[in-house]
Symmetry: C2
Amino acid sequence: MTMDSPEVREAGALDADELRDAWAALDADERLEGFRLLPTSEGEQFLRTLDLHDEVALLTALSPPERQLWMRQLPPDDAADVVQQAPEDERDAWLRLLDEPTRREVSALLAYAEDDAGGLMSPRYVRLRPDMSVDEAIAYLRRAARERVETIYYIYVLDAEQRLLGVVSFRELFAAPPDKRVRDVMRTDVTTMPPDLDQEAVANLFAESNLMAIPVVDGLGRIQGIVTVDDVVDVVREEATEDIQKIGGTEALDAPYLDVSLREMVRKRAGWLAVLFVGELLTASAMNRFEDEIARAVVLAIFIPLIISSGGNSGSQASTLVIRAMAVGEIALRDWWRVFRRELAVGLALGSILGVIGLLRVVLWPFGREAYGDHILLVGVTVACSVLGIVLWGALCGAMLPFLLRRLRLDPASASAPFVATLVDVTGIVLYFSVASFFLAGALL
Amino acid sequence: MTMDSPEVREAGALDADELRDAWAALDADERLEGFRLLPTSEGEQFLRTLDLHDEVALLTALSPPERQLWMRQLPPDDAADVVQQAPEDERDAWLRLLDEPTRREVSALLAYAEDDAGGLMSPRYVRLRPDMSVDEAIAYLRRAARERVETIYYIYVLDAEQRLLGVVSFRELFAAPPDKRVRDVMRTDVTTMPPDLDQEAVANLFAESNLMAIPVVDGLGRIQGIVTVDDVVDVVREEATEDIQKIGGTEALDAPYLDVSLREMVRKRAGWLAVLFVGELLTASAMNRFEDEIARAVVLAIFIPLIISSGGNSGSQASTLVIRAMAVGEIALRDWWRVFRRELAVGLALGSILGVIGLLRVVLWPFGREAYGDHILLVGVTVACSVLGIVLWGALCGAMLPFLLRRLRLDPASASAPFVATLVDVTGIVLYFSVASFFLAGALL
């Protein structure tokens, strides 16, 4: 689709699906133009399908009256997300775009951190009193269905102090005898969550419970809002993206890859890369200590990349497995000892396999025997033992580092593959030359 | 909770939440015992909260009559998943546990690949004819609500050939005037998907459309079933877990970390680790070519780990960013040239930053001047240029490899951090010694 072709120039000549498909390839001006070409009825739905970053960029690009029109279409939790993205001093201006009741709802939501349950919830849920009959309740819901509530499919039963007494799905209510009381058909063992539950834990709760909506309840048992599963799909994707980017050794981008400016992209990547580079400079210091050994037996230098990268690879396996298992709630802090024992066993097995491959490679090497004669077997044993040690060490470091970070209340995903590799590289060099001194002293060294 | 304490030994003395919390720490026998202690009413809900791997293990451990009881509680899409997990020759035995109508539904579902839309869908959706009145439709739904349909909240309007004409949400129906026809309140621009759509694409469609359910429609426009958003949460988590594990250089575990047997864990990790090790052996061959240079200038060897790891780190950043952007549908194959240009610019900037740090480190090194005298500046320039080159090369390799894999119809996530690092290591060594020959010929070399 080209935006410039004259046949799509009149408003309403473009539909939301076409724009959606073309979106990624358009620049900011074309996106604005494309959005204005949508029929008004499709605008709101289209806005809701954008990710937050694109949504805010588009709203900002619109004229003030347009911006007010579209902001007023958004449900309060989405509007709160938009306002939260704005710089501190512009938030009031964004809030003023809303009508009075919505502004109050949005202001209340802004008190919660964006990535907690409180920041995900909608205040527009359906509430009933326990003593209504099923028939009265259904008649009431028929009116509620026309209003802008998030869902009518879960109904929350509250007492006069807004305390949550129970929940009934619309379907259960619908299937119940009309003259029963709501109190008699509601379930009282309700899965709830506190407003400050981290969104990763929110996602895990949804995955475990298979519910379509979960109420957010404060310390006094009062309901604050509900989180619906469709918002959780976005959370799960976002959290996984963040973890993957961190595991790759980048700061989280917080925006689609192609939308990040070059300057921002360099900034987000240079920080970690420079830290890792400075860390890796320690390998040069470590190597410097062994300069004499290298001068006497250049063959030792030849295997350094092989040995340190084996440690890095086994460490990166272990750290990513542990980071992911923590993120989805499979393992907790207290499991560190079980994980340690597993990685000890796995690391020994993996190290032995690679050690044997390494030994064979050195011993069967065509150039080896003429250059190093009888010492070639000793070099092979040195390589094999070093590989075994470093693979084991890598697995243990990689597996324990996420636990350490979580213990320090940092993000375990920061134990990225490059970070673990760098950590293991320096120790790998010291280990390798220590093993070499042991086996080769008096022979090559 | 301890399973052995006498006070929880009677059936029904344990509730689903308690068991859920203790689950990860229990062994197979304790899990079986715990499940049998649940009140019968909580068993089905509990089973549905388990991941597929644990669910199958538990069902297998039960006695045949118990297994039949619980299999018959499962909705057909869940039952199909369970049957699909069983070895080929045991599937019939599992199918025979079901009642006749469910068995037919499950057999139909088994024709689809487990990780396609067809494998995720439920055949139990609510269907209406277009000429029913809204009031008739609601009365009909009131009966359907008592049956085992997946959701009554989206209603699909079909013609006599099962072709999908439109969709109406329960809420819209409920809010519509009672004497209107279904035909007049339904929406006809329905988002649908084909049965063979990959589950990653299914997840992206849900994330973009914000729908709670999407119908699966065959080439003739006939509805085959519906996929609901709660199943998609699990898909998104599963797919992200697989990608993260592959990025870390492991085969996908397909089960929780602590549940994988040690033998299986070694097998899933040893494969890639051995491939990478053999690849990394090429570094030894590359180094061997430059043995004379190392013997003449040991200082060169000292910076090898620093230089190759810089390339690996920048490559791992680029590959993880591109892999994730592809997985969530931000970039497609046709974007390779835009990505190439971006990484060219970013790689040059990052390489320059690290190159300058490297240059300063060599030149300001306390031991440098005495050992290498006037040549130290040349060594510094060699290191700086090599770092610049290798960081750029790493970024380009890391970014292009996922495109190449996707083009070959392989999983882009296989362009793991360790894989890219290994690829870059070998070329890094050749690059470094080539740069060194250029600057140091006649000086140190």
